[in-house]
């Protein structure tokens, strides 16, 4: 543990500090938006958005290498792909007469396949693993700035729309009858979900990012009787998972993304099992 703290201040270990900052910055966004997503039962949609991000990252890497578009960073590609996927998925789930889950499943897979193909065709060697499962070595100072800006946008909009978002999540039909444009709020929520996913793609990767959405919020829901409590507890759990997970991964020499997710999952399972035992003993 001590070595972890000294590593945090070690100038040669700047990536570790960056990863911790990124995680702590992202935790409130995950707590707030994750609570809405869990309460609205949109986890599946969030999963689809997360996997489409790989398409954007792949396309950005390809264009960077092929056409020397240096401004087109993987982060920018991720943001564009995430927002695009969010709007597409939102409009389909609101409008389509197809089976919505089939369409979402198709987008999920196609987004990911696009990314893999682009990465394979990009000159030079790029390890898709680091995008799929996260790699804290890749975080740059510029990424941290982007994360901070996105964070402010997501938290600001998430809290500003709090009352109306709850009304829409709780009873959409009633909210519509009150003159609230519920479709707009659904799309807003999906876009905020998309931006939140981008925040943590670097740290835990696109496959596991969804865990940070659902696990802290689902754990928090067991202690909360109000939405804002759930957001607060989910944020704290997210921070503990990131800080604890990084420390464990450093100490035990484990990959950091999976360790963070395991810790979040451990809290969740402990709470459910604990609750189950408590009910049985009664």
């Amino acid at each position: 543990m001590l070595t972890y703290f000294s590593a945090l201040t070690d100038p040669n270990m700047v990536f570790l500090r960056y990863a911790l900052f990124a995680g702590l910055l992202a935790a409130p966004a995950f707590g707030i938006i994750g609570t809405y997503v869990v309460a609205r039962r949109m986890t599946y949609l969030a999963g689809a958005i997360a996997h489409c991000v790989l398409g954007g990252i792949g396309a950005a890497l390809y264009c960077q290498a092929r056409y020397e578009l240096t401004w087109l960073t993987p982060m920018l590609g991720a943001i564009v792909a995430a927002i695009g996927a969010a709007l597409l998925i939102g409009l389909i789930s609101l409008r389509s007469r197809e089976r919505v889950d089939s369409v979402i499943g198709a987008i999920w897979v196609l987004g990911m396949a696009t990314g893999i193909i682009f990465i394979a065709k990009t000159p030079g060697y790029i390890d898709p693993m680091s995008y799929l499962f996260g790699n804290i070595l890749m975080i740059t100072g510029g990424d941290l700035l982007t994360i901070a800006v996105l964070d402010v946008i997501v938290i600001g909009l998430g809290l500003l729309s709090y009352n109306r978002m709850i009304a829409v999540c709780f009873d959409e039909e009633f909210a519509r009858l009150r003159g609230i444009r519920t479709e707009l709020y659904t799309l807003l929520l999906l876009c905020l979900t998309a931006l939140t996913i981008v925040l943590m793609v670097r740290v835990v990767g696109i496959v596991m990012v969804i865990a940070l959405f659902t696990l802290p919020a689902a754990t928090a829901s067991h202690f909360s009787t109000r939405i804002w409590q759930m957001m607060l507890f989910a944020t704290l759990l997210g921070m503990i998972s990131v800080a604890g997970g990084l420390s464990l991964s450093y100490g035990l020499d484990l990959p950091s993304g999976p360790t963070i997710v395991m810790l979040a999952g451990f809290f969740y399972l402990t709470v459910i099992i604990g609750k189950g035992l408590k009910n049985r003993l009664r």
Partner: protein, 260 residues
């Protein structure tokens, strides 16, 4: 809140309204008019079109033919003046909200991106007080009994400060003892807002409404003025037989003496 609508403008007016889901006709050629402060009960068999009729009045569905006017304008335009209590809340029992949060949703249309004002809270508390559930305000919504929840949802509809109240099966989850108390409250409300209530139990509703609409693809109108609930109950036994009998009647309704 709003300027009062002159009495001559009906609260709800349906003219030759027909609605079908795909090939299946639900309502055919329905015409009626409900005056302000009228109290009406909709009865009829399941699938007869009661809930569909409410959704048409709310503007959630659009009729294929015919027109519906609510307070003289289209249902969409009148929406904010309608308080609605749905029959089924597509409700997630693990959704962490307090009773106050739920009732405040009746005010959600007027807050923009902001917060609820003290005035919104006052109106919500008053709505709860009217249904004698103000003591529950800080309780988690999912800890309530079915009957308490039903009342909260009516309070939520009242918090909209409606001119028209649409209640879809307000007594569905309520035990008989509480039901009586329930209709006392509704009777009170009917003095200041137009009330449309869907109900299975004609015996009860006939004490608070002036007319009964039998909805089964068509709408037949019965005034209850000459009848006590007991007599109707005796006559029909239940609402299914109630709509099966054969008669023709005007839009104004008819007296049951005609058909006996």
């Amino acid at each position: 809140m709003q300027s009062p609508v002159p009495l001559q403008i009906p609260a709800v007016q349906c003219e030759q309204v027909s609605f079908s889901y795909g090939e299946i006709p639900i309502l055919t050629d329905v015409s009626f008019s409900i005056q302000k402060l009228d109290a009406v009960a909709l009865v009829g068999p399941n699938g007869g079109g009661k809930s569909t009729l409410l959704k048409l009045i709310l503007g959630l569905l659009t009729p294929q033919t015919g027109t519906i006017k609510v307070l003289g304008v289209s249902p969409q335009q009148a929406r904010k003046k309608i308080g609605y209590m749905p029959q089924h809340l597509q409700y997630d029992p693990s959704f962490p909200v307090s009773v106050m949060d739920v009732v405040l949703m009746g005010r959600a249309g007027s807050i923009g991106l902001g917060r609820y004002s003290a005035e919104d809270r006052r109106i919500a508390m008053q709505a709860m007080a009217e249904l004698a559930v103000d003591g529950l305000a800080s309780r988690p919504f999912n800890s309530l009994s079915g009957g308490q929840r039903q009342r909260i949802l009516i309070a939520r509809a009242l918090a909209c400060e409606p001119e028209i109240l649409l209640l879809d099966e307000p007594t569905a989850n309520v035990d008989p003892g509480v039901e009586l108390q329930f209709f006392e409250i509704l009777k009170e409300l009917a003095n200041r807002v137009t009330v449309l209530t869907v109900s299975h139990d004609l015996g009860f509703v006939s004490q608070m409404v002036s007319r009964v609409f039998c909805v089964n693809r068509q709408v037949k109108i019965h005034p209850t003025s000459e009848l006590t609930g007991e007599i109707i109950h005796e006559m029909y036994g239940g609402d299914v037989r109630m709509v099966r009998h054969d008669h023709c009647c005007s839009e104004q309704g008819h007296s049951h003496a005609d058909i006996l």
